[in-house]
């Protein structure tokens, strides 16, 4: 499974990778340091598109929100399931990303065990169901 994370925080990228390594599912994790880097990768010729894209909202140069809007505008990218991966869990952010077409919202947990559980849940999700039914109530993923 090909997974991609866009996050400017080095520590968070580290936790993210560690968590996936600990999960007993075969995954390849690719990361981008900010929004610009992410969009360059996604638009690059011949680059493998991720099965799931994890998107931090607060990033320099280009925010996660801007990336989300760009991706949903592009025909070859708009089908990629997008999981928002943010420190904030403000109503406003959740509402906005939901409206713009994100599939799931994850608040970065403060426990490694929880992080592993959340990520495991996300990659095990039935994305066809999650993308077609767009459910506001189950949008914010919590354990």
């Amino acid at each position: 499974m090909y997974i991609m994370l866009a996050d400017d925080d080095e520590d968070d990228r580290l936790f993210f990778k560690e968590a996936f390594e600990a999960i007993k599912i075969f995954t390849i994790v690719k990361s981008a340091n900010d929004g610009v880097e992410l969009m360059e990768y996604l638009s690059g010729n011949g680059n493998t598109l991720p099965d799931i894209l994890f998107l931090d909202l607060n990033m320099p140069r280009k925010s996660g929100m801007e990336c989300l809007m760009d991706i949903k505008r592009m025909d070859h990218l708009k089908e990629i399931p997008i999981a928002i991966y943010s420190t904030s869990a403000s109503e406003q952010d959740i509402e906005n990303t939901f409206v713009k077409g994100a599939n799931i919202y994850i608040k970065k947990p403060n426990d490694f065990g929880k992080l592993k559980k959340l990520l495991e849940e996300v990659i095990k999700m039935n994305w066809h169901y999650q993308t077609s039914g767009l459910n506001r109530d189950s949008f914010l993923l919590s354990l």
Binding site: D11, D12, F15, E18, T87, S88, K108, P109, N110, D111, F112, G113, L115
Partner: protein
Amino acid sequence: MNIRSALSVSFLLRLVFIMAMFMLLFIIGISFKHTDSLSKSSEFLVHSYKIQLELEQLLSTIKDAESGQRGFIINNDSIFLKPYKNGLKKVNVLFESLKGMTASQVQQRANLEDLRHLINMRFTYLTNSLALISVAGGNQLLGENMLKGNAKMDSIRLQINKMADLEISSFKKHQEKYNKEISFTPLITLLMLLFSVLVFILAFIKINKDLTVLKNSNEKLLISTESIKHAEKIGEFCTSIWDLKTNKIFFSDNLYRLLGCEPHSFEPTLENYLKFVHPEDRKIVGVKIEDILDKHSTYPRYYRIIRKDGQERYFKAVGKFIAEDSENNMHLNVMEDITKQHWNSLNLKERNRELEQSNKELAYFNQVASHDLQEPLRKIQTIISIIKEREFTNMTETGMDYFIRIQTSVSRMRKLIDDLLLFSRTNKIDKTFEQSDLNLILNNTLLELSALIEEKNAVIQSDQLPLLKVIPFQINQLFQNLLSNSLKYSKPDIAPVIKVEYERILADDYPALKINANKIYGKITLTDNGIGFEQHYAEQIFDVFKRLHTFSKYQGTGIGLSICKKIVENHSGYIFAEGKPGIGAVFTIFLPAE
């Protein structure tokens, strides 16, 4: 005083005077007529006597002529014939005079003609008698002739008497008519005079009364004028009245004063007023005053005035058309010196701006304190959990102990930050008040706390709660904080019992409720049987971070009750705490119920 009624009074008076005037004129007319007829009557009398006199004279002239002839016959002296000769001439003169006098009297005139005829005949006899004297032997004829003459003389006397009688009777008739008139008019004149006097007296009384009213209203007017003058002085405002008909403007005394001038020290014209208006603001005043005529100019308007001494003042002007009659032809302007208010409002704005600024800073601080502090904290916690999972077993006993202490402290710090964030978010802005059933809210809270309630084996009894206009989730938070507070500070060996009671009350009955717009409150009390607290802490427990117990005994951040207070204050309500150590605590909430 009503102008209209004053006008009608003067109209009435005018009418009365005109009536009286006409009566007087009438009386004058009657008097004139009366006098005129009096003089006519006396003329008539004189005329009548004159005729009688002339007639008498005529008779005596004939008699003279007759007796003269007799004397001549007896004495045969021609001197006796003189009256006879003169008599004929005199008779002619008298006749002419009588003819003139009786020109207008038809009957008398006819009588006169008859008389003339008789007299002529008489004279013919006389003449015949004279002729017979000189004829011898005519004594017989003379005697006959004289007898005939005497008979004629009797006829003449009769005729004269007839004429005199006619004069007397016509005079009597005239006198009767005159008397009739004269006896009638004095009564009318007297009545008219009396009536006129009455009218004048009534008019005088009325005038007197009106004068008293006028005097009183004048006094009132004077008082009100004076008080307006004082009011203008005290209230720092002034007025101008613009008469559109005459295009004249009146300025009140205080207008001059507010411009820094002596009252009436310059001509009250628009041009002179504009001289005091700040050059940049002249357009506002100038243009707008011309706009007055179209009656759509906007009020109030604000402009600056530069006083005579150079001081800049701020004016607020309002204007209105006042109706003098059916047409609006007076424009009243009221100008107020609002310099003080202007600066006050500027200060207020400045302070408001500062407050907004400080609020923004506070919000930013909150953001930093909660959000940005959470970021590294989250990482610390994550790393702690990674270490605990992977490296914990490699640690020594002491290392493990310290490590656990680190974890506890970090957790507590997170709790503090979370609560602080919750506290700072608990405000009124952007929250909508809805009519809500507090029973539903309480049930929801109980559901949320069900695990804790079960764990503590607690009993919660509640009255029927009301429908109130509140921010529902904040009230939920309020119930949650208070109930969990009671559950937390319960006695370890006794199952907690919490009573929720409700009562609708009047603010007047509770001095602790400061006077404000709300009169009726919903009073909700939560009574528990927990450990209670010393009453002197009753106010402090609502302060942020205030704790009465050590953390190890009762965990908490000391923010929960602060949030309660904030929520209640958001609802313009009050919250009070009452504690008895070892017995329990009572929290009383007052929420506006109108």
